[in-house]
Subunit: 112 residues, 4 copies
DNA sequence: TTTT
DNA sequence: TTTT
């Protein structure tokens, strides 16, 4: 319950169906990308949309709900924790990977 | 004012004095790292502290306030936007860089 | 920009069309109620929905957007500031009124 | 875990020591007031500080931590849920009471 | 007074 | 890769 120190809130759309893995202990993990679209005016005064793609991961119960209810295009609000992992890729290059560990999410616009 | 869609909140300490740049237009930019410390129990039940280091950038007025008041060790609460940039490093490796663009921050524990 | 100190985030539905007022200075004000629905299990294990009704007020540009796009039933995400006002009602009773001054909002599920 | 729908974040100071009650089931409850100070310029351009007093309540483990560590003047960051209760006072007047049910909090400026 |  |  450390979420006063580190909390991310995003509202956007899934770019793909969640990728579900089942771990050795039977616990599920769901990974997906979420696009947040920001609308602003550029130097010429035209409306432009800037899209950011965020990496999300959900565990356990949240992963199961994601598996059942989320799919490509789904609109969701999520709250999670910002994490950064270091790893070495296949070419031996040191890399950083930032992802949001989902604490809670809400499906939106579900009337469709 | 798109911060309903994309908002990060962190409370932690600066790892260094902010790095201040003045851009061509006279606008300032302040960069700094912020550590958030999360306390939890490990498998053996011992208290462990996990530290995450986040990259932050502030612009304009916020950068000026950061320059004047923030320094290594300062405790701050920040609200910002999660952004990801792609770039190619000196070795020609494609990389992603995640940083938080600060919208608002607050110095804490300032009674000292 | 004091929203690190005081910030409310709600996702819910309008109970009515916004009530629009135009002030002497031409600035608009929009008032509306927002329901947040929380689902939980009661002592007997049955799913129950608890609804909270919040009072919201938007000013200026936000009020104009609210007037044009929000109506009874609209699903929205809002970010605002928690405020409390004291007043004396017609019967001379001292009362407190809590409302959220909207900083930013987002219409959800707008595909309908 | 419904906090994507309804979440309040405040950073401020306690106006009093927490008021601790122990309920029949041995569970503790802590009540306290928190002041958030907002700095802004008035019509004449002078800096003015506006203080809002919020009612907070914490339960169980949070209440116990509040009892041990929080006191009048403590600086804290809290995350909670906005709730409204109706009641009838001793004079038979119907009233509303708004309070924030604390989910998580963090003591700040603890170096003192 | 909303929504699922 | 999403959405409007």
């Amino acid at each position: 319950m450390n979420h006063v120190r580190n909390s991310v809130r995003l509202i956007g759309n899934l770019g793909m169906n969640p990728d579900i893995r089942e771990l050795g202990n039977g616990k599920k993990m769901a990974r997906f990308s979420l696009a947040t679209n920001e609308s602003r005016r550029d130097a010429e005064g035209n409306r432009v949309t800037e899209t950011s793609w965020h990496h999300l991961v959900a565990w356990g119960k949240s992963a199961e709900i994601a598996e059942r209810f989320l799919h490509k295009g789904s609109e969701v609000a999520i709250e999670g924790k910002l994490t950064h992992r270091q790893y070495v890729d296949r070419e031996g290059v040191k890399r950083q990977f930032t992802e949001i560990v989902v604490n809670d999410f809400l499906m939106l616009g579900s009337r469709q």
